[in-house]
């Protein structure tokens, strides 16, 4: 796959690449469909309900029906909304969400772009989504969505800092920002063991980046009704929803790669193909998301901020310091 990029441009490889992208889009859409289904099922089970069960066998077509409904809905727009920005916002939110998937190596061969700065690319691109959210909040001309948009701006920017800091430890250990090399460096032991502190910080910050419970303040339905997308409906709302779940897909993949050893098997079970391992670890993370959502109450905005800056950031910095010191000792830097 990656070698397609290195070839000289021809009609054939451009088409191939475009086709592959469409396939990935379909895979992602399939994931989103069934992630929503399983989210509802798992949360239902945890709440003594049975979850979706009426559309299709076992309710498997529930999300499909929901999406079809969203697509058929009238495209409504508040009268005093900023027309252009209102339309632009969902695109701004969704496009980077899909863009980040380009650098994710699902196995050692399935990857779109083998960037040397994969980690940086992911984080830089995902930062754009917050623009979409603010734009949506502002353009809707609704007070609730404005508050939601500003909340999420503050939240996502604040939490990006500890998120990046927690990854620095992994980067230090690997000596590379290439996601494939990061996985390959975990051959002996997965990063979750030496970088446990970093993993915890990453887990929490990722949760806040994804705007999911207990950090779902931007859409806090009990306070802000639905936050930044309160005025959106139909297809535009579907885009926001999609962006949220694609990010979950991306973040799950990133966690798997950075800390859980990507496609690497548990020693002794290497006969199972890498992609299965990847999906397993990835699903574990996604399940954890649902589990949290079924349990946790929501933080308050000011607590959220102080938690990021006073709690997570110092821990992340400490993690970098420890990692740096340990690596220096191992390299013998202190003796010379």
């Amino acid at each position: 796959m990656a070698n397609l990029l290195q070839q000289t441009t021809s009609l054939w490889n451009v088409t191939m690449f475009a086709l592959a992208a469409v396939v990935l889009l379909l895979v992602v859409l399939g994931f989103v469909t069934y992630a929503i289904y399983f989210e509802r099922k798992v949360i239902g089970w945890m709440q003594l309900r049975i979850g979706p069960n009426r559309v299709g066998p076992l309710g498997l077509l529930q999300t499909v029906a929901d999406v079809a409904k969203l697509l058929m809905k009238e495209d409504t727009r508040p009268q005093n909304a900023d027309k252009a920005l209102f339309a632009l916002a969902p695109v701004l939110a969704y496009a980077p969400a899909f863009g980040v998937l380009a650098v994710i190596p699902f196995t050692d061969s399935i990857q779109f772009a083998d960037l040397g700065i994969g980690v940086l690319y992911y984080i830089a691109l995902s930062g754009i989504t917050v623009l979409g959210v603010i734009t949506a909040g502002w353009a809707s001309n609704n007070k609730y969505s404005l508050i939601g948009g500003l909340r999420s701006a503050a939240q996502m920017i604040s939490y990006e800092v500890p998120l990046v800091m927690s990854v620095v430890g992994v980067v230090l250990m690997t000596g590379s920002m290439n996601l494939r090399e990061i996985v390959e460096a975990q051959k002996d032991v997965w990063n979750i063991v030496p970088q446990f502190l970093g993993f915890l910080v990453f887990l929490v910050a990722a949760q806040a980046e994804l705007n999911r419970t207990p950090f779902d303040l931007p859409e806090a339905e009990s306070e802000l009704v639905a936050g930044y997308h309160v005025e959106y409906s139909g297809f535009r709302f579907a885009m926001f929803m999609l962006a949220e779940y694609v990010y979950m897909f991306g973040m799950g993949a990133l966690v798997t790669i950075l800390f859980l050893g990507g496609w690497l098997p548990i020693p002794g079970l290497s006969f199972i193909p890498g992609i299965v391992w990847f999906i397993l670890k990835f699903s574990l993370y996604v399940f954890f998301q649902f589990w949290l959502r079924a349990t946790m109450p929501r933080l308050r905005a000011d607590q959220l901020m102080s938690f990021a800056w006073k709690g997570l950031l110092p821990v992340a910095l400490l993690n970098i310091l420890i990692t740096a010191v340990v690596i220096s000792v191992q390299n013998g830097s202190f003796h010379s």
Binding site: I43, E221, S222, L299
Partner: protein
């Protein structure tokens, strides 16, 4: 009456020269956290609330005026619809008022049934509060767990009186139905089950750090404020005043049971949460004793004249509802209909403190504070 705020839209500049504006935010009457059709106009500076004006009356049905044209038995179904989460206590207060006026003696068995019904209803009411309050705070599962157990209580009521919410169970001089066979045992089983379940509730929520941080020190007021605003129930007891009509002015047969009145001196949302949870346990204790002492047989209706005509005069009775003191004032001119009927609704009185509590809080706290007051709009607006 214009619900608008005194000052609208003030602009100001910060030291940096940035122009900022205050904003009027309309919360409700359709809003997930107003627990009914309650409207709150808040003036916010950023997320900080500067001023707030509650607007009530969206659910006003004029129960008190309607009652002037109804005879006393007909008023009872109307009281079901005031505090619809604890209709049994409302049933009781009107019956109690008429019984006091006419000096009717209620048979023991009926009193036991009334107490069991009222205490189960108190538990059901607190369960709804617990679930919806956690929903306000952002946790969704507790709601489902609370409703599963409330469902058991409603099923018990359904068997007892044929309705799940608007019971219309009590009559002047007694109760409409005797307990069906095996019902008392079912209540006893439920008490044992619920005792375990309360522990699970604590495991699920009460220790959660996020939850504790959300509530600690929020919506604080002192005993003087509570008395000045004529608060009652948990709102009053959370400030350290031990006042529970079941203990201090025992009505019905409450003096036969042993139970504690949980109080706290904190006066914040967390204290109110803990007190309501403790009250569930105390109510379970009362039901347990009532089930154990339940009389073998006996009448369920006292000696009541065919047409109920309280003597000329007036009376006021008050009892402890899950939300506080619910009172009933009747002015009678000796007719079969009251000349004037007035309910003192605890939600209405407790709600009055809201603008004072909200000043300077942020929007997330607004939801937490409003939820901790535990209002039922049917009762606020009556």
């Amino acid at each position: 009456m214009s619900p608008e705020l005194t000052t609208v839209h003030s602009e100001k500049s910060t030291e940096t020269g940035l122009r900022t504006e205050e904003m009027l935010l309309n919360v409700g009457p359709q809003h997930p956290s107003t627990h009914g059709v309650f409207r709150l106009i808040v003036k916010i500076d950023g997320e900080t609330i500067k001023e707030s004006t509650p607007v009530i009356g969206y659910l006003h049905r004029g129960t008190e005026k309607l009652a002037e044209n109804l005879n006393y038995t007909q008023i009872i179904p109307y009281t079901d619809r005031m505090d619809y989460l604890s209709a049994m206590t409302n049933n009781y207060v009107i019956c109690h008022a008429v019984e006091t006026m006419m000096g009717i003696e209620v048979p023991e068995r009926a009193e036991f049934l009334r107490v069991i019904a009222m205490e189960l209803n108190r538990i059901a009411s607190h369960l709804v509060w617990w679930g919806t309050y956690l929903l306000d705070i952002g946790a969704m599962s507790p709601f489902l767990f609370a409703f599963r157990d409330r469902e058991t209580i409603l099923d018990l009521f359904n068997e007892l009186c044929g309705a799940r919410l608007t019971y219309n169970y009590m009559r002047i001089g007694g109760v409409k139905w005797d307990a069906p066979p095996g019902w008392i045992d079912k209540v006893g089983e439920f008490v044992q089950y619920m005792k375990k379940e309360v522990g699970n509730y604590h495991a699920l929520v009460s220790g959660n750090e996020i939850f504790l941080n959300r509530l600690k020190g929020i919506g604080k007021f002192d005993a003087k404020t509570a008395l000045d605003y004529s608060m009652s129930g948990v709102m009053l007891r959370s400030t350290g005043i031990k006042w529970d009509l079941r203990k201090d002015e025992p009505y019905s047969i409450y003096n036969r049971f042993e139970f504690d009145v949980p109080t706290s001196t904190e006066g914040d949302c967390l204290a109110r949460y803990q007190l309501r949870m403790a009250e569930i346990e105390q109510s379970l204790r009362i039901v347990e004793q009532a089930v154990a002492q339940f009389p073998e047989g006996g009448e369920i209706m006292g000696k009541v004249p065919k047409v109920i005509r309280p003597p000329v005069g007036e009376t006021f009775v008050r009892i402890e509802s899950p939300r506080g003191e619910i009172g009933c004032y009747i002015a009678s001119q000796g007719k079969d209909k009251p000349w004037r009927l007035k309910f003192r609704r605890p939600s209405f009185n407790n709600l009055q403190v809201l603008p004072k509590l909200l000043e300077g809080e942020n929007i997330a706290n607004m939801v937490a504070i409003l939820g901790s007051i535990d209002i039922v709009l049917g009762e606020v607006d009556a």
